[in-house]
Amino acid sequence: MVDSLSLKPEAAAPAPAPAVKRGRGRPQPSLRSRREAWAAHLFLVPWFIGLFLITIGPIVASFYLSFTDYSLLEEAKWVGLDNYVKLFTEDPRFWTSLKVTAIYVVVSVPLQLAFALALALLLDRGLRGLSFYRSIYYLPSLLGGSVAIAILWRKIFGANGLINAILGVFGIEGTSYVNDPDTALSTLILLHVWTFGAPMVIFLAGLRQIPSSYYEAASIDGAGTVQQFKAITLPLLTPIIFFNLVLEIIKSFQSFTQSFIVSNGTGGPTDSTLFYTLYLYTKGFKDYEMGYASALAWVLVVIIAGLTGINFLASKYWVFYGDSK
């Protein structure tokens, strides 16, 4: 491939015009590069507006609001740490939502990654029509977070859904899985696992990076497939696994749509699918407790940051980068 990123020489080289030295001895940029800098800044302005207006502004505001009692209908009242204290000491639904989300993350992320890796290995065996399969398997990742799929999920796992139709053939009478507190969360976990396409594509790219000479050498030494996988593929793939793990943990902690649609916005039945973000949303927009919801949001930030930090620390012990010892 042609390296399209290489700069044209005149843009990279210092300007030929003699630089007039001023007091501080800093070379004065040429008129042209100054103009270019201006243009660059000008083009960046829309992005900055977006960043300040819809990202940084609300983040700062929500941090402030998390220390207030804010009903949306009235001015926010400063209450100090009250929201945080209440959250940890007298809100059982906070703990429920945390538990539900934790189960969801702990079960669905490893399952999803294992599934993605297995399929990537399969596709990596020089299958014909690889790009076709890759696209097909990637599709659920694009669709998985959508409202349409969540509705479809309701239908599939409903009392008269596809699953029960299949079970019915064998004479088994099923229930409504999305409405049974014992199974509702499992259907959401399944939905998450089904969106294995994104990590799979990344795994595939990672597999392609492993030099085939390693495998050739190994098979000459008489290593079988399993041994090759354990001794070559897995260690060399750990950076990719790590990357996927971090990404998916963060993503699944923030899941909202699935639970919102499948439970009809209630987190039910009996809070069995009450994701953290859904609880946050309910507090803010249904119960008029925006200050409390902001506190919930900041606790989530701390949790995710903490987990990511732990992940990075732990990675020292299991992630193998080829260039380090």
């Binding site: 000008l42 507006i49 209908l73 409504s176 049974d180 039945p269 009996t270």
Partner: protein, 423 residues
């Protein structure tokens, strides 16, 4: 360093510009007309009716321009609360009784006492728009929470329609289970609901008020007796099991058992009769809810379908009052809106449009007349009352699906409910 400053300056400039763009321009339109913003929710059919009524109002008041702000129910309160928070509240807002205290108690609504003519309105319903003695809201119309019966389904199962003047909860449960049996597996006797109105009525029959002096007035015993109704229905197969029922409930009125002719009974608001009759293609009958054997009263009440309210921050109170007055008192407006927002409570309007009402509403009118002597006063839920529906549903689901014992659930429900209205 300098380049960063430039960028910051540009960003600030851009922010100021956008801020200018959204500010100003409120109130007076370019053509000198007063602009009134009016927010409401609903389906497309309601939007059409409302736009017609607005057009009529503008014809009668050429100096006022009413802009309808319409959204679906699911996102209505989110967008309304956001607008109020941004100091951008619509002049006239539609609210329902659950949200009334939230808005009135926080100073978002104007007191309408003496501002809008209420002489011809049903005086018994007016308190449903009062918070702390002030008339913050005026009911658009009324509904009753009633039992709908699908006669065809019931008779097909070999059973007879009950006598709703005398039937008890146990009669209802027994009949439901018989219908399920007689229907041969394709039909359920009834569907059930955790609607707070059901609990309110049931508690009233036991002499308890839902809200009593800023506390929940329902006892754990009443809750347990109420849950026993569901339990019996599920056990005798008079209704679907908890999971299946949750699915039916989530699917909405058109997919309900009674509207799909797969159920004999169901509790709904009277204004849903028309749509459900249409879905089922059968004649549906309004019945009184069953009673406890020793009940002193039916516990039924006239529930305002919605309320008209005016923002306390409006710049055009006179025009806003005129518009609300028009919606409530003008027979021509009534002739357009009919019973879309509940049966009108203005006796003159009602008399003028009576013959134009569709059969379902005629039936509702007769029904309301027949129970008129046995109605409770509706109570405006206090601040936090909007959470009741969620709380009741959550614990009721836990009980019906066997996740929690009724004893434990009753204690926790009351604790949660009391905490919700404590502030």
């Amino acid at each position: 360093m300098r380049s960063l400053k430039t960028v910051a300056a540009l960003a600030v400039a851009a922010l100021t510009l956008t801020a200018c763009g959204s500010g100003g321009g409120d109130g007076e339109a370019a053509d000198g007309k007063v602009k009134l913003r009016f927010s409401y929710w609903g389906a497309d059919s309601r939007q059409k009716l409302t736009e017609q009524a607005i057009a009529l109002f503008e014809k009668k008041n050429p100096d006022i321009d009413v802009v309808g702000e319409f959204s679906d129910w699911a996102s209505y309160y989110e967008s309304l609360a956001t607008k109020v928070a941004a100091n951008d509240a619509p002049d006239v807002m539609t609210l329902e009784i659950r949200g009334l205290s939230e808005y009135a108690g926080r100073g978002a609504l104007a007191d309408l006492s003496g501002k809008v003519n209420t002489a011809d309105l049903d005086q018994g319903v007016l308190p449903s728009g009062q918070v702390e003695g002030k008339q913050y809201a005026l009911p658009t119309g009324v509904n009753v929470f009633a039992m709908l019966a699908n006669k065809a389904t019931i008779e097909k199962a070999g059973e007879k329609m009950p006598d709703d003047a005398t039937w008890t909860w146990d009669d209802y449960i027994e009949l439901s289970s018989k219908i399920s049996k007689g229907g041969g597996g394709s039909v359920y006797g009834t569907e059930y609901t955790f609607n707070p109105a059901y609990l309110t009525i049931f508690a009233a029959q036991r002499g308890e008020q839902f809200y009593n002096n800023g506390k929940i007035g329902i006892t754990p015993e009443t809750l347990k007796a109420w849950w026993a109704n569901f339990d019996k229905l599920i056990k005798t197969k008079g209704s679907p099991d908890a999971a299946k029922m949750a699915e039916v409930a989530a699917a909405g009125q058109e997919q309900s058992l009674i509207a799909t002719n797969t159920g004999g009974f169901g509790m709904w608001w009277t204004n849903q009769l028309g749509a459900m009759t249409k879905s089922s293609g059968q004649e549906l009958t309004l019945l009184r809810l069953p009673k406890l054997p020793d009940a002193q009263k039916s516990g039924l009440f006239l529930q305002p379908a919605m309320h008209w309210t005016i923002s306390s921050k409006t710049e055009h109170p006179a025009e806003a009052q005129k518009f609300v007055d028009f919606l409530l008192n003008d027979p021509e407006a009534g002739a357009i809106l009919l019973s879309d927002r509940g049966l009108p409570i203005n006796s003159k309007v009602l008399a003028a449009i009576k013959d134009k009402l569709p059969p379902a509403d005629q039936q509702t009118l007769t029904f309301i007349d027949s129970i008129k002597g046995d109605l409770d006063q509706v109570v405006v839920p206090p601040k936090g009352g909007g959470k009741m529906e969620d709380i009741i549903r959550r614990y009721s689901e836990a009980v019906t699906s066997g996740q929690q014992s009724p004893d434990e659930a009753a204690t926790q429900l009351l604790a949660d409910a009391n905490a919700a209205i404590a502030g």
